[in-house]
């Protein structure tokens, strides 16, 4: 009975995942139509809620960083950060959006340039300006504010208040002991559900991009079996990394990642149209900040409504559905930092690096498009995964760049899957910081196996849409988490004012702490 209770979230989550994967295999069309219907309905009815919530998360983060709460440590008062700034930023970046940025660095500006909202002329200067501004917007402050909100709550309640690092722990000030009963299980199972589906689709789509990249360098056809081989190789590598433990594996991979990414970024900046790229960077930065407030709250009901639904709201839902995984991971690497340090670091550095990335790759793509009549935008519109590799054709050492990108994708990929396996095992082991190896292997194999099966059966995008539907309950849960964190911090300060020598920190979170 105790064994069942200890694994209740694991069992519930596993059954839900297998149920949807089963439908995806047996009847992918039905899963696809159900997922599309749900996703479209939710975005149509609650899209405004996503925009508002994401904006509120920024306000909340800034409030925490700038208020008296900013000095509170995510851990014991005397505790020091576990990772150096470089290690921390590398892991933040790798888990947060590394792989997506490689995928969309060229593809997103080109897509907006070719298909802007109806009030902007296609393939015009205005469309290019719009494309860069909205690429910044979709990958800018909001996604990080969403991640930070989730991470802060988990880190505060786990490392400072001594509770297990679970999403349900964040609700203790609101629902008390009920976090150890059905409401808590539902919250954690929902987080597992969103994480598994998100990681499975990422793995599947990422493997396709690696296959496309390799096919541009080596003479082979990017077939299904090639993708399967890549998934198998990646699975073996991320399982080895995952079993080696968080400190060694993920940190080493993330640092390698960031070095590779910076090399690629530096090369493109120097070998490409440097002045043009820097002009785009500064100009878009100014555009972004001057219209951040308007973009943040514009549902565009009069013009560009459909575009906003299919891009901005989709992105916000995606970031929110991805937040349990990234939030838990980022929390686990941020122990010992103050709230102010955490918010400012995670909000500024990755965002600036993302902006630079989009400026370099988007700017280079625009330069090629305008000066060499490359028709890159139309190529991207046909196959998003080849955009970056097509761009390399116009640069020296294109084969080397493609190989470097494939390596980068592979390492990012392994890092994401590694951290996802760790987070899933932790969430289904009642928040144990050292989850059992058996669970890591189980989740690793489930993720990879599901990716392969759904790539074959064709239910991968449907699964992505199912993950996004989880964003709706998570948006509501995250708003309550803000309330809960604010209550927790307020309580701590009131206690401090009663007794300035009060040490609120408890022991290490353990499975027994759940009782």
């Amino acid at each position: 009975m105790q064994l069942l209770k200890n694994n209740i979230v694991f069992i519930i989550a596993l059954l839900i995942v297998l149920f949807f994967v089963g439908i995806g295999i047996l009847n992918p069309d039905r899963l696809s139509s159900l997922a599309t219907y749900l996703q479209e309905r939710i975005i149509e009815m609650f899209g405004w809620g996503y925009l508002l919530a994401a904006f509120l998360f920024i306000v909340f983060n800034l409030f925490l960083a700038l208020s008296r709460y900013g000095s509170i440590k995510l851990g014991k008062d005397e505790e020091k950060p576990q990772y150096s700034y470089f290690g921390w930023f590398s892991m933040l970046f790798a888990a947060g959006m590394g792989i997506g940025m490689i995928f969309w660095g060229v593809a997103e500006p080109m897509s907006h340039y070719l298909n802007p909202p109806e009030y902007i002329t296609q393939e015009s200067g205005m469309a290019a300006k719009f494309a860069m501004k909205y690429s910044f917007f979709h990958w800018g402050v909001q996604p990080w504010a969403i991640y930070i909100t989730m991470s802060l709550c988990i880190a505060y309640f786990s490392f400072r208040r001594g509770m297990p690092p679970l999403i349900s722990s964040c609700f203790y000030p609101l629902i008390g002991e009920r976090i150890y009963r059905t409401p808590g299980y539902v919250i954690d199972a929902l987080a597992v559900f969103a994480t598994v589906f998100g990681v499975v689709t990422s793995l599947g789509l990422g493997a396709m991009q690696i296959t496309s990249g390799l096919a541009t360098v080596f003479p082979f056809e990017p077939t299904f079996s090639a993708t399967v081989i890549i998934i198998c190789v990646v699975t073996v590598l991320f399982l080895i990394s995952s079993l080696s433990g968080l400190d060694k594996g993920i940190q080493m991979l993330s640092k390698t990642n960031i070095m590779l990414a910076l090399t690629l970024l530096g090369f493109m900046l120097i070998a490409g149209p440097t002045t043009y790229i820097l002009d785009i960077f500064l100009n878009t930065l100014a555009d972004y900040f001057s219209s951040l407030f308007t973009m943040s709250l514009s549902t565009n009901p009069f013009q560009g409504y459909e575009w906003t639904h299919s891009w901005t709201m989709f992105y916000w839902a995606w970031w929110i559905s991805w937040s349990p995984f990234v939030g838990l991971f980022v929390a686990s690497i941020s122990r010992g930092r103050t709230i102010r340090e955490f918010v400012s670091g995670a909000l500024i550095v990755p965002t600036l690096l993302t902006f630079l990335w989009f400026s370099v790759f988007g700017g280079a793509a625009f330069h090629v498009e305008f000066t060499r009549q490359a028709d890159l935008a139309r190529t991207v519109s046909q196959d998003i995964s080849v955009g970056l590799f097509e761009l390399y054709e116009f640069f020296p050492l294109s084969v080397g760049l493609s190989l470097l990108t494939v390596a980068l994708l592979g390492v990012f990929f392994i890092t994401s899957a590694d951290s996802a396996t760790f987070v899933l095992s932790m969430m289904t082991s009642r928040g144990r910081l050292s989850p059992p190896a058996a669970k890591k292997i189980t989740w690793g194999l489930i993720i990879s196996g599901t990716s392969v099966i759904l790539l074959y059966a064709g239910g991968l995008e449907a699964l992505q849409k199912m993950a996004i539907t989880a964003a709706l309950p998570f948006t509501v849960l995250m708003l309550f988490m803000c309330r809960s964190l604010n209550k927790g911090l307020g309580y701590e300060f009131r206690q401090r004012s009663h007794n300035p020598y009060l040490a609120p920190v408890r022991n290490e979170p353990t499975a027994e702490g759940n009782k």
Binding site: Y156, F157, P173, K487, G488, P504
Partner: protein
């Protein structure tokens, strides 16, 4: 401590309810009631005579219940005039027959009773009957909602002095849940020991003193526990309003009368109120 009371009359109160209110006041040991009517400038002499006649009849009824009655006619803004009269007459507390108003009515029209409660620095007794058919004059169970703050020093003398001649006293503390189970356990222990301390301090004045410790919304928990324990009177302290929310919507003590059908005794902490 509660010998003399000011009872403002608008003459819209049903007489039987006024007498029920006075019956309740007798439980506090009240001997003298100052009936205060605030006259408006529009009232002509004929109307004034009729009003005076009505008040005399009420006074007579109260005297028959065994209390001394004095009548006063004042003019001015109702809340200001009542509070001033209470101070001039050196009353121990003020007694109100509360007429509930819904939020919209209260927001648009305001309420003289609410203004009196907000402005008065004396304790205020608010009489409410549970329904039209029920005549509630007994006082068996009393509930004091404490926050262990400065208001305790204002309220506890009344509880220790046997001013409320009830049999059972419930001491309720509505706390804010701590952020983790360990801190919550400590908080509960601290609350319970504080409640036990208060219970000990006033155990001589009641047959039974029970303690209740809960978490949640202060206002709703007071109402919930009062209903659950079937109390006849809720006692709360009133002090300086804390946050901007309370500044706008009123403190717990000020909003309770419109939310509960139970009678209330609200003690202002003069040092901070």
């Amino acid at each position: 401590m509660l010998n003399k009371a000011v009872l403002p009359l608008s003459l819209k109160e049903p007489k039987h309810k006024l007498y029920d209110l006075v019956q309740c006041m007798r439980h506090f040991g009240t001997e003298t009631v100052f009936l205060v009517h605030i006259t408006s400038q529009e009232e002509n002499s004929k109307k004034q005579k009729s009003l005076q006649q009505d008040i005399r009849e009420i006074a007579e009824g109260i005297r028959e219940l065994g209390l001394n009655v004095e009548m006063y006619f004042k003019s001015g803004r109702i809340a200001d005039a009542v509070c001033l009269a209470a101070l001039e007459l050196e009353a121990d507390y003020l007694s109100l027959h509360w007429r509930k108003k819904n939020v919209i009515k209260q927001t648009l029209l305001g309420s003289a009773d609410a203004d009196i409660l907000r402005m008065c620095r004396l304790p205020v007794f608010i009489y409410q009957s549970r329904g039209h058919l029920e005549r509630k004059t007994s006082l068996h169970r009393v509930l004091y909602a404490t926050d262990f703050q400065h208001t305790d020093s204002a309220v506890m003398p009344y509880l220790q002095n046997r001013d409320f001649r009830a049999e059972t006293l419930y001491l309720l503390h509505v706390g804010e849940r701590a952020p983790d189970p360990y801190a919550e356990k400590e908080r509960r222990q601290e609350s319970m020991s504080n409640l036990q301390r208060l219970a000990k301090e006033c155990s001589h004045a009641f047959t039974t003193v029970e303690t209740i410790e809960v978490t949640g919304s202060i206002k709703w928990q007071i109402i919930r526990q009062a209903r659950k324990m079937k109390v006849d009177l809720i006692i709360v302290g009133k002090s300086k309003k804390a946050g901007p929310w309370e500044q706008m919507l009123g403190s717990v003590a000020e909003t309770l009368p419109d939310r509960t059908s139970c009678s209330l005794f609200i003690v202002t902490d003069i040092s901070r109120g």
